[in-house]
Structures are given as structure tokens and as C-alpha cells.
């Protein structure tokens, strides 16, 4: 019987040697380990042997069986690996070639900055409201405490459409429109296009502003400082130094202009900040009681804060854009960078 085992082994070795495909191996497996294989019959016939011989032959046969199993598996594994390698080699891709890129457009930098600022304030419970770009003199000037012939009108080079209609020079008229429509308390943000008849290296006749207004029963100047500190730190980083200095806007009092430490030179003085180390970033103040009166609110009952900033200015500082006119040239070499 043990000779029989040796014979199987020899025959198996020869077959394995000549196998060239996985299929050959499967056939060998079936031939030597299948139900009707010699080795299986031999193991089945063990029970007929005397006990002594049964043990001896049994262990030889079983050892042979597991050895054959293992060898076939190893051969199969080797064969599979070779096949996979051959397949990969056949395809031979140069994967350093660039991928197929779906075309991707970009958002205008003004939109990006507007969305960023809008997100900060909607997070603080502000509503975003819109107003008309062709405004009445009343909303753009009169109601904001800028009567006819007020010297502050000089600060606004206004485009007129008719005697009473003009292209809004700031987003502040939306304050009045909103206060006429809604009762306090309110928190609103009004982004949009504004117009001044001024065109040179640092001015475009149209630009974008974002106006903020908060009206409640007890809003103080220190709250104004807090709110704008949140804005500036979110825009330019927590470590940005901020200063508030007195200024004048007819619709706020006290009024302030807010400077940040120059983002280019970190306050050391450079061309961008004209050597001062500071950059003017926005105007703000507490709502002038006259404006509340004009909008139909009782200045004894409510207080408020307001601020306005130029979107292009923030975009120029954020992205390092050196010429405001680039925003409206819409050159793809510019647009594609945002």
C-alpha cells in the first residue's frame, strides 16, 4: 500500500511539472484528490486493513493527501500571480499622463468675498436683504441725514437719472427701506452694487458694498467694536490688530473708521499702507437718531449700529490684487485664479 503511495507521488510530481495553466492544475487536483482518485480510494479502503497496518498506511496516505493539496494550492497561487503580472504588463499604462478633467469655472472674486462675509453674518443671525440700484434721492441722501446742499454730498459723486432718481452711491438706503418695512429689533446685511462718477487708477464707477445694520434696545459703541472685531478676525485672522478712529458720516454718530494692521507688511510700513502700517477697511458708527426718526423709529426707544465696507477693497487685500480695474475687465487670466 505504501508503494502505491509512492507511485502516486511520483506520478503527481511528473504531472505537476508539466502543468502550464491553471486549468491543468484544476485537472491535476481532480485527478489526485477527486472523489474517484486513487488516493481517495486508497484512503477509503484503509478500513479493510488490519489495525496495525491501518495506522501506518493511514498516516502515510493522509500525509500524502495534505501534501498534494498544499502543493496544488501553492502552484495555483503562483500561476495566478504570474497571470496578473502578465495582464498588467500587457496594458502598460503611463499613469503620469494627466487625467481627463471636466472643465471647471470660477466664481468672481467679488462674489467669493461677498459670500464669505455674508456667511459670517448669517451665522450671527443677520438677514440678507436687497434694495434697488436706481434709488430715490430721499433714500440715498435725505433720509440718511444728507439734505440737499449738505457738504457730505461732495463725498459722493453721484450719477443722476433724473432730478430725483440716481444710481445709489452706497448700500445705506437699504437701511431705510428695511426699517420702513420691518419693526425692530432687526439685524440685516445688504450687499450690492453702488455707483460713483469717479474713474481712475484706484476708483471704478461701479463697485460693491456690504452694509450692516443692527437695531435693538441697547446697542453700544463697545458692541460695535465687538461685532466688527469678529468680522475682521474671521476675515484676516485672529492676530490682526484693529483700531477704531473717529470719522464722520451723516447717518451715524459717533462715527468711526476702522483700520487693520497692514496685511502686506504686518504693520512695518509699505507701499500698500503708504508707510503707516495701517489699512482703512470700513466705516461704521451708531445709528444717528435723526435717521431713526426719518425711518419712523423712535430714537428714544431704539439704538443701533451700522457699518459699510467695500468688497473690492477686501478682495484686493485678501487676494493681493493691485489694480481695482481688473475686477471689471473680466480677463480669464484674472478670473481663473479665484
Amino acid at each position: 500500500m505504501r508503494d502505491e503511495c509512492a507511485a502516486i507521488r511520483d506520478e503527481f510530481d511528473a504531472d505537476l511539472q508539466s502543468a502550464v495553466s491553471e486549468n491543468d492544475l484544476y485537472q491535476i487536483k481532480s485527478k489526485y484528490l477527486g472523489r474517484s482518485s486513487r488516493l481517495t480510494s486508497l484512503i477509503k479502503s484503509l478500513k479493510d486493513l488490519p489495525a496495525e497496518e491501518r495506522a501506518l498506511t493511514g498516516s502515510t496516505a493522509n500525509a500524502l493527501k495534505s501534501s498534494l493539496q498544499r502543493e496544488i494550492e501553492t502552484a495555483l497561487e503562483a500561476m495566478r500571480l504570474t497571470r496578473k503580472e502578465q495582464a498588467i504588463a500587457a496594458r502598460a499604462l503611463d499613469i503620469t499622463l494627466p487625467g481627463r478633467r471636466p472643465a471647471l469655472g470660477t466664481l468672481h472674486p467679488v462674489t467669493r468675498v461677498t459670500e464669505k462675509i455674508t456667511a459670517i453674518f448669517t451665522g450671527l443671525g443677520f438677514s440678507v436683504v436687497d434694495g434697488p440700484e436706481i434709488e430715490l434721492d430721499f433714500f440715498n441722501f435725505e433720509a440718511l441725514n444728507i439734505p440737499k446742499d449738505h457738504p457730505a454730498r461732495d463725498m459722493h459723486d453721484t450719477f443722476y437719472v433724473s432730478g430725483e432718481q440716481l444710481l445709489r452711491t452706497h448700500t445705506s438706503p437699504v437701511q431705510i427701506r428695511t426699517m420702513q418695512r420691518m419693526q425692530p429689533p432687526l439685524r440685516i446685511l445688504c450687499p450690492g452694487k453702488v455707483y460713483r462718477c469717479d474713474s481712475d487708477i484706484s476708483h471704478t464707477p461701479m463697485f460693491h458694498q456690504i452694509e450692516g445694520l443692527m437695531v435693538d434696545t441697547h446697542v453700544s459703541f463697545s458692541d460695535l467694536k465687538g461685532l466688527l472685531t469678529i468680522l475682521i478676525h474671521r476675515l484676516f485672522g485672529q492676530e490682526t490688530a484693529i483700531r477704531f478712529r473717529p470719522s464722520y458720516f451723516p447717518f451715524t454718530e459717533p462715527s468711526a473708521e476702522v483700520d487693520i494692521q497692514c496685511v502686506m507688511c504686518r504693520g512695518n510700513g509699505c507701499r500698500v499702507c503708504s508707510g503707516t502700517g495701517w489699512l482703512e477697511i470700513l466705516g461704521c458708527g451708531l445709528v444717528n437718531p435723526v435717521v431713526f426718526k426719518n425711518a419712523g423709529y423712535d430714537p428714544e426707544e431704539v439704538t443701533g449700529l451700522a457699518f459699510g465696507l467695500g468688497v473690492e477693497r477686501i478682495a484686493m487685500l485678501t487676494y493681493g490684487i493691485n489694480d481695482i480695474r481688473l475686477f471689471y475687465e473680466n480677463d480669464l487670466r484674472f478670473l481663473s485664479q479665484f
Partner: protein, 802 residues
């Protein structure tokens, strides 16, 4: 405003460095825009004595001079006729630079060495051109820097004065403010009263016919006037402050204007008729020639200063040509008046004139400052020996303006508004520095009276701002508003805008933003017909240029300009743009409507040629597909494209209207090639423009789930041959109308004409998906539906299987 530090120091004993002052001013509302040092421009120019002067051997008009500068002698060639031995003059040494770009170098002039240049006052910018080189005081020491010898050094601050602080548009105004900031006394000099001039009463009678616009008119006289140049120190101060020196009398009026903020006007008295000054409003269409020799047609109500016969000055703005000071002037009338801001502002704006005087009047001058200004001017006339000034001042002030009334201020309100905890004493102390008189009227209650020059202070909030300013904005703490939580109002337009932008950029379109104004010619270039609302745009009354003179009625024109720019400037092979902006329409009644539009454009290669994909020009289906993706992304379901557009700028066969519900939302199509060429586009341009508000109206924010079938789907392809006249939309409609719940989905996967397809026919192939919600479909079942569908299409469209 330009402020001379030396001039300032005449009124306040300020010792701090100028940088400190600039910072303090900036932080209290007077932004210092620049600091200029006067003096370094004369760094290489020194006092020199001409020791010998000899004719140049080879040039008739030149001399060769030996010039002594304290330690050495230089040889200098000079062309001035007044050079002579013994003369003290200014020598520009090698290295000296002049404003016109000239830099002095050692050189040879016609063979003679020259180690510098002897300078004229014009070359040194310290006086009028007088032909020769500077003739200096013989007592000056050779070798001294000219700037020190002539005491030319100064520092000038350029300060931005806000419109509410016109009281600071003068040296004394700024001195008063700076004294308050540093808590120093303001030192106003007392001027000696001039003696012996003419008495006013005999000279003139004042008749104010417009008392509302001119509540006060003061005048003084000076006789025996000798018109001459002003002294150097005065010329320098005027020039450092941005004014040109004219002659002693005009310079004195300007000097007082800069020092006191009160504009003065000097009339040649001999040219005034009838010993009379009449202040009246201009008559309709009255004409007047100002001293700059410009004739104006005056707006009604413009305030005029007239004599008994005719207008002599445009009040508060500019004098008249024929009453101005000349070399022959002997007696002058100096006018110091108060004109109401509104009146001067209106006239100045109407005529487009802005002068140093009008800028001050239109912001307001101190009505109590008229007489001190005249006193200063007459004192200067005496000091400069420009004439005999009178001590007598005419003051016509029929209805004195009431003194400012006290303003009630609550200490609690001050602190609540600012977020500070100041005491009544601190507040009073800050205000006192600003010359505001404070009286305690009760616990925590103050009555504050501002001085007459602070006409901007009217209410409690004005006082609060002053307290904040003096205390320093930096002393106000940073706190955060404590307010009730509330839900912000939704803004659908913005929401849809954000989504549309995301979808379009993902589809390869870049966002542009263009000016809202445009060239009216663009409308005819786009063939917008005259009966179209868009052909009559809103016009600007004061455009910057014709190319920006009307408001946009379509965004497409701008996008085409953007295309043209990119083709010209960077030869881009492809671009896809979109813009979401308002256009402006006029209704037949003349009301202006703003309409938000979404416009887009695509041009050129759809895929840039790469190793993996072949590029091809964009076609109409690219832009249509982009719109379909946009609408699907916004979950707008009820849309359809209708063949043919009404836009004359589109090719009729390659354009369509986009309808949503019952409304036409916009149009899309291929630009007429002629128009495309007009914008330099060589290959087809495809565009769309949609009414954004309609998109917003149909936008669906809501999402809901429909269960899907878990049974296998069966796919069948159906290739039809139909008449060319039948559109794909007709076939789709027929498929839509085929009601069978097992036909779940279908789409067109192939389109073909020509080749094996008979002439007049085309082939459209559909991929059909059959699926049941409750069982696995058998082939037989699907075949039955498929056959029924085909039969139905045969009947409806005469379709045949390919």
C-alpha cells in the same frame, strides 16, 4: 488741508515730535494723509559770496566767477546779468537736484570749469522769476545752508478734514483742536490797532437785500496802497499751504483765510460805483465775468455782491474781473462776510466752481470770526507797509443770530451709548478743553453750551461723540451685543443665486461682473428693434463717457464685450461666461424696473485638445445641455424648449425659447455669425439670457423620496426611421403620451441621417427601460409592450423600425 507746523506753533506751544502729533490727530478724527519736510530740497544749496567776476573768454553772455563759500573758493560759470563781485547769492553745489530734474554736476562750459550753479529765485522755487540770480542780504555768512540762512525749513501735514469740521479748515482752527487734544492753552495774539486809515461810514453804505443768505457783512478800508510782492516768509507759507503768491494785498487776504478760516475779498474801491455795497440774489439768466475771465450764466438765487450799478463779485465764491486789485489800486475795501452754506453750495455746484473761499462758506464759517479776521488783515497791511489801514470796521449785522442754547446731556446716556463709566467731572473736563461750557443741572445731568465756531454741535449725540473722541476710541472696551436669538429672513433670490453659481461653475462657466452701464450702440449691434422695451434704456444725466451712458437692458452685450476682450487680449481658444445682474427697463409710463437676469455665453473648443479627448467647437446642444443641467439642479421640472426665438441676434434655426410653466423665461441659441464677427469671434457663439426671478419662482427647495423597484429592469433599444419633418420633440411627446406603467425610463441614445437612411428620413434610437414594482418581468411581457409602443408610434408618426 495743508497745515504748517511752524505756523501752528504761533498759536499753541506744542513740543511733541511731529510723528506723535500726526498719530494723535489721526486717532481723534483728523486723518493725517502725509507729512512733508520743507527744506531738504535745498540740501546742496549754500550761501556764497562772489569775490571776482570776469568775462568768459569764449562766450559773450557768460562770466567766470570766483565764489567763496566760507572755507573754499569755487570757479562757477554764470549767465546772469546781475552777477558781480561782492554779491551774496545762492550756489548749487554738485549733487543739488531741481524740481525740473536738473542735477548739478562739475562740468566745463565752453572750456571753462564750473563747480556748480548760481541760482535765481525761480530756480529755487522761492519767488517769482525776475531774470537774475538771487541777491541775498549781505549779512549772511557764506557756507550756510540756504534753507537755514533764509529760515525756509518747515513741516507740512496734509490733513483730511471731515465735512462737519469746517471750523478746523484753518491754522487757528487746528491749533484750537490740538490745544484741546494736548490740554494746552490756545494763544491768540492781540494785534495792534492800525491808525489813520479812512473811516468806514463816509466810504460805503451796505444794503443787504438777501438777509437769509447773508446775515452779516463786515468791511474795512485801507488807503495809500502800494502793490508789491509779499515778503519771503509770507510767500513761503502760502506756497507751503498750496496757494500761489500774487501780490501783498491778495496774499494778505489768502494768509488770513488760511490762518483764520474766514475768506476775505479785496475790492478796488475806486472801481466801486455809488459808495454802495448791495448784496442781492441774481436775476434770472444774469451773466457775470469772474476774475479768471470766465463768463457765467448765473443760476437763479446766486448771491451777488454789487455796487450801486452792477455786480462786482459772486458772493463767497469768486470776485469779478473788473473790480479786482491791479498795480494801480490805491484804496481797497476788504470784505469779511457770512454767507449761508446752502446758498454758496448750490451756486458753486450749479456753476461747477470750487474755490478756497467757497469750500469754507459752504461748510460754514464762524459768524463771530468776521471781525477778528479783518483786524488781522489790517494789522498785516500795516506790518507789511502795504498801505494805511483803518481801525474802523463796518459791521452790518441787522439780526444777530442767537447764541447757541445749552444742550442737556445725561451722564448715564453717555456711558450707556459708549460702553464706558465716566464721571460727570471727567465729561465736563473733556468738554472744557473744547471750549464747551458745562453746568451741572442735577445728579448726572449736564447742560452743555458749545462755542459759536462749533455749529456742528446741536444735540446730545454730538456731545457724546466729542466725549468719545477726547477720551479716545481706544479706551472703549470690546463687548459683544446681547440680543434675543432670532431666525433670519429667507432670501430666495440669494439662495437660488448661490445654487445657480455652483451649478454653472461646475459646468465650466466662469462668473463675470460687468458695469451696469453700457454703450447705447451695443443695442443696435444686437439688432434690438425699436418696438422692443430694451431699445429705450435708462439714460444717465451725467455719464462719464458715451460708452457708459445708458443702463443695461440686456447682460448679453457685456458678455460679448468680455468675449471680445479675451479674444483680443489673450487669444483664448474657448470661454464660457455667466453673469447674474440687474438690467433696467422703463415701462411705457416711465417707471424704472430692475430685473435680475442670468445670462451666459459659450464659445470655442469644448475640450481643449488633449491626449485623451479630441477638442471640438461648442454647439447649440452644449448650451442647451448646460441649461437643462441648471434647471434640473434647481429642481425646476415644468420646463420645455420651444423652437425658434424672437431675438434678431440669434440664428432662427438654431435658437429656442425656454418656457417654464406658462411663462417664457428666456431665450437661447447661436449668435448670428455677422454679429459674432463684430465681436471678433471666428467660430460660433452660443448664448442664453433668462429672467432670474422666474427661475426663483419655480425653484423647488423641497425634496421627496419615491420608492424604487427592486426587481430587475429590462433594457430594449428602439431605433426608428421617421420623416425629417418630424422633430425629436414630437417623438418624445409620443413616448410621453404612451401610458404604460412598466415603461419606466427612456432616453435618446443615437441620432443619424444620411448613409443608409433614405433621403427625407432620419433615424432616432431610444433606449427603453421596463421594470415592474412587484415582479420580475418576462420577455414575453416586455415584447408585448414594446410591440404596442411601436404600433402606436407607427400610427402617430409613421415611424418604422430601422
Amino acid at each position: 488741508m495743508l497745515l504748517s507746523i511752524r505756523w501752528l506753533r504761533e498759536f499753541v506751544a506744542l513740543e511733541v515730535p511731529v510723528q506723535d502729533l500726526a498719530h494723535r490727530l489721526t486717532m481723534s478724527g483728523f486723518e493725517v494723509e502725509s507729512i512733508s519736510e520743507i527744506g531738504p530740497q535745498w540740501d546742496h544749496i549754500i550761501v556764497a559770496e562772489v569775490q571776482a567776476s570776469a568775462q568768459h573768454p569764449d562766450a559773450d553772455k557768460l562770466t567766470v566767477n570766483s565764489v567763496y563759500t566760507g572755507t573754499q573758493t569755487h570757479q562757477v560759470v554764470c549767465g546772469a546779468p546781475n552777477v558781480r563781485a561782492g554779491l551774496k547769492t545762492a550756489l548749487a553745489l554738485p549733487g543739488a537736484a531741481f524740481p525740473d530734474g536738473l542735477v548739478i554736476k562739475r562740468s566745463k562750459i565752453r572750456g571753462q570749469a564750473s563747480e556748480g550753479m548760481l541760482c535765481s529765485s525761480a530756480e529755487l522755487c522761492i519767488g517769482d522769476p525776475d531774470g537774475g540770480i538771487l541777491e541775498l542780504d549781505g549779512r549772511l555768512t557764506p557756507g550756510t545752508l540756504l534753507a537755514d540762512a533764509l529760515d525756509l525749513r518747515d513741516t507740512v501735514l496734509d490733513i483730511s478734514i471731515t465735512p462737519n469740521r469746517a471750523d478746523c479748515l484753518s491754522v487757528i482752527g487746528m491749533a484750537r483742536e490740538i490745544a484741546a487734544l494736548y490740554d494746552l492753552p490756545l494763544q491768540l495774539p492781540v494785534y495792534a490797532t492800525p491808525q489813520g486809515g479812512p473811516a468806514c461810514a463816509d466810504m460805503i453804505a451796505v444794503d443787504i437785500q438777501a438777509p437769509d443768505a447773508c446775515p452779516r457783512y463786515c468791511a474795512a478800508f485801507a488807503g495809500d496802497i502800494i502793490i508789491a510782492p509779499s515778503p519771503l516768509w509770507m510767500r513761503r507759507r502760502l506756497e507751503n499751504c498750496g496757494m500761489r503768491s500774487i501780490n501783498n494785498i491778495v496774499d494778505i487776504t489768502n494768509y488770513v483765510l488760511l490762518e483764520w478760516g474766514q475768506p476775505l475779498h479785496a475790492f478796488d474801491y475806486s472801481l466801486l460805483r455809488g459808495k454802495k455795497i448791495v448784496v442781492r440774489a441774481a436775476r434770472s439768466a444774469e451773466r457775470f465775468t469772474t476774475l479768471d475771465n470766465t463768463t457765467h450764466t448765473l443760476p437763479a438765487g446766486a448771491l451777488m455782491i454789487c455796487d450801486a450799478e452792477q455786480p462786482r463779485a459772486l458772493a463767497g465764491i469768486m470776485g469779478g474781473l473788473d473790480s479786482s486789485i491791479t498795480r494801480e489800486t490805491n484804496t481797497i475795501l476788504l470784505e469779511s462776510a457770512y454767507f449761508k452754506p446752502g446758498s454758496i453750495a448750490a451756486t458753486g455746484r450749479a456753476l461747477g466752481i470750487k474755490t478756497e473761499a467757497s469750500q469754507r462758506f459752504e461748510k460754514g464759517v464762524d459768524i463771530n470770526g468776521l471781525i477778528p479776521a479783518l483786524q488781522r488783515a489790517t494789522a498785516l497791511i500795516a506790518d507789511l507797509k502795504a498801505g494805511r489801514a483803518a481801525s474802523d470796521i463796518l459791521d452790518h449785522y441787522p439780526a444777530p443770530i442767537e447764541a447757541p442754547r445749552p444742550i442737556e446731556v445725561s451722564v448715564a446716556t453717555v456711558n450707556k451709548t459708549l460702553g464706558l463709566t465716566l464721571t460727570a467731572e471727567t465729561i465736563a473736563c473733556h468738554l472744557a478743553r473744547l471750549h464747551m461750557h458745562t453746568v451741572a443741572t442735577g445728579p448726572g445731568a449736564l447742560a452743555v453750551t458749545p462755542p459759536s465756531h462749533r455749529y456742528d454741535i446741536k444735540t446730545q449725540i454730538d456731545i457724546i461723540e466729542e466725549v468719545a473722541r477726547l477720551n479716545g476710541y481706544d479706551t472703549i472696551p470690546v463687548t459683544y451685543p446681547v440680543v434675543p436669538l432670532c431666525s433670519p429672513e429667507r432670501n430666495i433670490t440669494r439662495e437660488v443665486g448661490e445654487q445657480a453659481r455652483t451649478l454653472l461653475t461646475a459646468a465650466g462657466f466662469s462668473e463675470v461682473i460687468n458695469y451696469s452701464f453700457q454703450d447705447p450702440n451695443l443695442l443696435s449691434a444686437l439688432r434690438i428693434s425699436s418696438d422692443d422695451m430694451r431699445s429705450d434704456p435708462v439714460r444717465l444725466l451725467n455719464p462719464l463717457s458715451a460708452a457708459q451712458s445708458v443702463m443695461r437692458t440686456t447682460v448679453l452685450g457685456s458678455l460679448l464685450n468680455n468675449l471680445q476682450h479675451n479674444l483680443r487680449a489673450n487669444r483664448c481658444p474657448a470661454c464660457s461666461f455667466f453673469e447674474i445682474s440687474n438690467v433696467f427697463m422703463k415701462t411705457p409710463e416711465g417707471t424704472i424696473i430692475e430685473k435680475r437676469m442670468l445670462a451666459g455665453l459659450t464659445y470655442g473648443m469644448q475640450y481643449t485638445d488633449t491626449w485623451a479627448l479630441a477638442g471640438r467647437d461648442a454647439d447649440i446642444f452644449d448650451i442647451k445641455g448646460c441649461l437643462e443641467t441648471l434647471l434640473n439642479g434647481l429642481r425646476i421640472v415644468s420646463y420645455r424648449f420651444e423652437t425658434g426665438s424672437t431675438e434678431a441676434f440669434l440664428i432662427p434655426q438654431s435658437s429656442m425659447r425656454l418656457c417654464i410653466g406658462d411663462t417664457v423665461c428666456g431665450q437661447c441659441g447661436t449668435l448670428d455669425p455677422e454679429i459674432a464677427e463684430f465681436f471678433d469671434a471666428a467660430s460660433p457663439v452660443h448664448v442664453f439670457e433668462l429672467d432670474f426671478n422666474i427661475l426663483c419662482a419655480y425653484y423647488v427647495d423641497h425634496r421627496s423620496y419615491t420608492p424604487f423597484s427592486r426587481y430587475p429592469a429590462v433594457q430594449r433599444d428602439l431605433a426608428l426611421v421617421i420623416d425629417k419633418t418630424i422633430s425629436a420633440a414630437d417623438v418624445c411627446a409620443a413616448l410621453d403620451s404612451f401610458k404604460n406603467s412598466l415603461l419606466k425610463q427612456w432616453h435618446i441614445f443615437d441620432f443619424y441621417q444620411g448613409g443608409s437612411i433614405p433621403a427625407g428620413k432620419k433615424s432616432i434610437a431610444f433606449r427603453l427601460i421596463f421594470q415592474s414594482d412587484d415582479r420580475t418581468l418576462t420577455d414575453a411581457e416586455v415584447n408585448k409592450i414594446h410591440d404596442k409602443l411601436l404600433a402606436s408610434l407607427r400610427v402617430q408618426l409613421g415611424a418604422e423600425l430601422r
